[in-house]
Symmetry: C2
DNA sequence: GCATTATTTTCAATGCTCGAAAAAACAATT
DNA sequence: AATTGTTTTTTCGAGCATTGAAAATAATGC
């Protein structure tokens, strides 16, 4: 069932959620602005903010005695998140590194731990155990915040099962198949959620780039892997597995180059760092890819190609072709208005551009709707973190705080 | 904005919609069953059905004096749609034929007109004009029903614009670019909605096959074209353009066989009737496809292949390969639990099965999640009609009848 | 005719929203 | 210093849809 009975409870949840959502998107707002943004009446706005204040979810901002913009009338009091209302622990797990961050309800970083990840690590210690220890450490280092820790959110790479409770496959060694999310949930008695990295990248990029809010966007990561997330117009944050793809492992050429995943002909096998290097150095396509490539080596190749080196430019042409046909094929199913190329490979975008656009031009959807706008952004770390944090905080907003019952307004109503 | 303010109005709309939806899915139900199906209380059920009865949207069924199943207690009175509450005109436009049906609110066919469509027709007469005349004719032939005609729904082939108001491209000659939906809406002052045929096929198949309700399904049409629609678990009917694809025009082979759409290497160019015939008769891939293929010719080829004819089986292998790799590539974006092959080409499914499954087995998603269940269904006309009808009736349910205000219950409340 | 049983309705309470009017808080003017 | 104007925020009563519990209804079985 997707649709449920609606009653006064769901009305309250919906409208409180609307208010928290508006604050999440726009930052601190006055009641009047909040009313017009959400579409609620001023009367309801008063009632809702009174509740949120009483429950210490938001606070009235002590406005700076800002003399530069004096306006007439009663001054607006802006409401902002009470940063101590909740905390979230955010884990970003990648192939060779991990990072654990503690953020407050307002979205400010409180503490952070960086962890290198040896490929053999999870063969030695159970992932759940390892993560539990790190979070425990973070909690002892921040005892005050630990008390109101409300959620653990984890960014992972690979294929999640339908419930999103564990990985069915992952490029991160020895991680798939272990029930680390559930063991963390048990250990800390907190909700734990897994998110696919490529999808967080897409949603995070949009948070950092509000123009993309009314667009449909395919955000492609190009680097040590190839991944893609989709975002749809209007929706602030997709629910469930919406927007996740296995783009990097879409077939490009039947029986083609060997991919790290073990299959043959994946886009990643041509367009990721190891794929491009393999082509450039004429290593046979069926050679098993190394677990990781030194960033320096990849950068050097880009520089060589930019300088005009034949085998290097050829390799990027092949990569662009793979990405281009992949996008062209994806567009038969999802037709975005914008395509973003993000990650280390974005630096080589101009080297791939012609091949990508040529491939796209061969798609009927593109002939009919025109080419989508294609833009490259270098940095991927910031949007991934932002996406993960926004997911976690939004979950607290909607699933926990919006659902809270009224703090018994109007106690002395008995008289009449 | 996707989310809106919730108030008592939206509560009523939601819950009335829930009731109408339950009746649409399960047929006539008693108030008690309706209450447990929707999750609403018996008290609310009484209120809602009273309104629906007063507004002549549903009627109490005069139960047949069914003596075989005597039960104790007050007998349940089942509620069913009032068939005269509304009527919908349904147009199915295809490349060489069109069909106009008049259905009542209960889903019963009232009248139907079949129309052959010459390829030059819409060059002679504006599509909007042609459709208007046919509907006008249907209305004069059914004057009583014409009075409560509430909606016109049209099944088309091709690419719709983002609002779904017109076709940006269509295999139906001279149809794209004409604002026939809007001119019909003006002429009759009624809502007119366009739906993509491949998507209706997917949704209609699910209405006829309730097992598929909790599954994610890719429904592939194989015949004079190749098309695909997606349905998602739980959702009764997808909204907007959800579930539409251009699967038939997904690229299979760069610079490959010429497709009817003018592009090269589309799946359709290999797997549709003209594609298979072209391969079987070794016609060059770059030969312009005929506008349509006699069904007999296609059937003959299937029979020859079934009999073991080499060039015929080869052609179906090529077709299966195109469909298989298309599905494998689609699964990087949408990963269904079931794949349905529907249409004339479904008869040749066994000839394509090995190639399809081999291609799917090469996808990482399939290695991880297992192969989806693949089933063939011959008939496509019934599910398309059913899908179109259900779309139209569901729109009347939700957008019109669920949104109706209360018929002022409890007039004499002033006393107290 | 009366007990039993399942369905449906009635009733009072609850909780949310909303429009209109009032109150509050400040700037500008007299 | 008091008054007026402006904008924000709160208060108040009305309206509406939901709900649980109790009552009414309509049949069967004995």
């Amino acid at each position: 069932m997707t649709r449920f009975v609606s009653d006064s409870d769901s009305v309250r949840r919906q409208n409180r959620g609307l208010v928290l959502s508006a604050l999440r998107v726009h930052g601190p707002l006055s009641r009047t602005v909040l009313a017009s943004q959400t579409g609620l009446s001023h009367a309801s706005m008063t009632a809702i903010t009174q509740d949120l204040l009483a429950q210490h979810i938001v606070t009235e901002l002590a406005e700076t005695p800002n003399s530069d913009a004096k306006t007439r009338g009663r001054p607006a009091v802006r409401m902002g998140f009470n940063r101590t209302a909740a905390y979230a622990a955010l884990f970003e797990i990648e192939v060779s590194r991990a990072r654990l961050s503690l953020v407050d309800y307002g979205g400010t970083l409180v503490d952070r731990i960086d962890l290198p990840l040896a490929p053999t690590l999870f063969a030695t210690i159970a992932p759940g155990e390892f993560l539990r220890e790190r979070i425990e450490y973070l909690r002892t280092r921040n005892p005050l915040e630990a008390k109101t820790l409300r959620r653990i959110a984890i960014s992972v790479q690979g294929i999640l099962d339908r419930d999103g409770r564990s990985l069915k496959w992952s490029p991160i060694a020895h991680l798939a198949g272990t029930p680390f999310a559930d063991s963390l949930a048990d250990a800390f008695d907190l909700p734990v959620t897994l998110y696919k990295r490529g999808r967080l990248l897409a949603e995070g990029t949009r948070w950092l780039n509000p123009d993309l809010h009314d667009a449909s966007v395919a955000t492609v990561f190009v680097g040590s892997t190839v991944a893609m997330g989709m975002t749809f117009p209007g929706e602030i944050l997709g629910r469930g597995s919406e927007g996740t793809t296995e783009f990097g492992h879409m077939n490009h050429t039947p029986n083609g180059a060997l991919c790290r995943c073990g299959m043959r002909g994946c886009i990643e096998a041509y367009a990721s760092d190891y794929g491009v290097l393999r082509t450039a150095y004429s290593v046979p396509e069926t050679t098993t890819p190394a677990p990781s490539v030194p960033p320096q080596q990849y950068d050097d190749l880009i520089q060589r190609a930019e300088a005009g080196d034949r085998s290097a430019t050829h390799a990027f042409n092949i990569a662009g072709r793979a990405i281009g046909f992949g996008l062209s094929r994806m567009m038969a199913v999802f037709d975005p208005s914008h395509i973003l190329i993000v990650g280390p490979g974005a630096r080589s975008f101009e080297l791939m551009r012609t091949e990508i656009e040529t491939a796209l031009a061969g798609a009927l959807v593109c002939r009919v709707n025109g080419l989508p706008a294609i833009v490259a952004h270098r940095d991927e770390k910031e949007p991934i973190f932002r996406g993960l944090m926004m997911k976690a905080l939004n979950e607290i907003d909607q699933a926990e705080f919006a659902a809270l019952p009224t703090s018994s307004r109007g106690t002395e109503r008995s008289a009449g």
